[in-house]
Symmetry: C2
Subunit: 250 residues, 2 copies
């Protein structure tokens, strides 16, 4: 059989937010590769080999997927959310570019998923309803100075902002600094959404004005969304709705 690689997104957690396209890829796979908690979301079955691996070995994982496909295996690389947003797709293409020329003939496809910021935004209302940016706050792979520069320019552009990987156990100081920069640069009461483990049993959504946001409101499973200057909050007995209007004229 001809080998292939499908780099797929499992969405934020709930089974009913996985697309049929991705379910089909998993049903046809001989091998599933990914970070331990994401591979754990794939049901075992006869003929399917699961290859869970630890965090921070993305390039090894990517090479493994391409090598198996070159041997004729049907390989699905799983990410949570969307594979193209701070996830495995870039790692696979880095490995492809650095690998043997024969890999360039492999059948490779990326299959999108519901990325964390859009699942979080949906739970809160529509905070990303107008121009926005997405920033990975992890400084494993880029200097902190670049993160800080992007934060300041994003405020100046008046984008709503979504932050991935706000706070790792090993480097909590980055998010402390992020909030300080935003509180000083925005200097207003715009809403901040802390969305943890959206669509899972551990889901927790908090909405606070920016001056009340504190670092410990985020952990490794949280996506943080900060409104633009015109983002609004509708108070309700059922819980607040946060949305950014479509127009900046009104």
């Amino acid at each position: 059989m001809t080998g292939w690689v499908r780099i797929v997104g499992l969405g934020p957690g709930a089974q009913d937010m996985v697309t049929a396209q991705v379910q089909d890829a998993l049903a046809q796979a001989s091998d599933v590769i990914g970070y331990i908690p994401y591979v754990a979301r794939v049901a075992p079955r006869a003929g399917l080999t699961l290859h869970p691996s630890d965090n921070r070995v993305e390039l090894d994982r990517a090479r493994h997927a391409l090598a198996l496909a070159a041997q004729g295996r049907q390989v699905v690389v799983v990410s949570s959310g969307d594979p193209g947003v701070f996830a495995m797709a870039s790692a696979v293409f880095e490995a492809l570019e650095a690998g043997p020329e024969s890999w360039l003939a492999l059948d490779i496809e990326v299959q999108p998923g519901i990325t964390a910021m859009l699942a979080a935004a949906a739970r809160a209302g529509a905070p990303l309803g107008h121009d926005f940016c997405a920033i990975n706050l992890s400084d494993n792979l880029k200097p902190w100075s670049l993160i800080e520069k992007r934060l300041r320019l994003a405020v100046e552009a008046d984008f709503a902002m979504a932050f991935y990987n706000p706070r790792s156990r090993s480097r909590p100081e980055g998010f402390v600094r992020t909030l300080e920069i935003l509180q000083q640069a925005c200097n207003d009461e715009r809403p901040v959404i802390f969305a943890r483990a959206v669509s899972t049993p551990d889901e927790d959504i908090q909405v606070v004005p920016l001056p009340h946001a504190t670092p410990e409101m985020a952990d490794m499973r949280t996506v943080v969304i900060v409104g633009a200057s015109n983002t609004r909050v509708i108070p309700r007995a059922l819980g607040p709705i946060v949305y950014t209007p479509r127009s900046v004229l009104s």
Copy 2:
């Protein structure tokens, strides 16, 4: 029966990119409201009333949905892509905030979908694999000066960029100016992806270096993605792969 509103995303076009959550909402609906081509994607059935409406009546549509739910109907508001990204969710919340207080007790939920930029990115590789922004280029609802400011700051921040609504028939000059600004401010050969009607029979993907991008490569059904300064192209016989590396140190 108790009324409710589900504001859902139908994804970019292919049926297998609609989530099961959204399919369930459509199966339970008494009424479906939306722009004509999106409502046309919902199969008619007994007990379901379809309410297709023309473009640029988003607020009327939103009020209609809320009013029907207040009468006890089960209402699904459809958008293509994700409802929270330049789509109907913000319009519904604008109508909610301006409407009667009783609407605040309504059961309203946003259900995410695969937004156009992520479907387009998946087809091209992983151009949004690192920090990026999304900008609506329509100047119906904001002044052109703000769009231009955001473009310049996005280049300075070195975000990859996704552009929605690049070119309407009535105002083609905005996208002409956008490309001029980017070509001058970036002054490099970074890749630009023109992704038209992704996942439909009309799909067309073009990848060109920024200096070769021309306005007529986009129309109303196109999402345009412009790489960051470090975005790479892997040439292949099967077609180029565009990706942004995870690291900016390498």
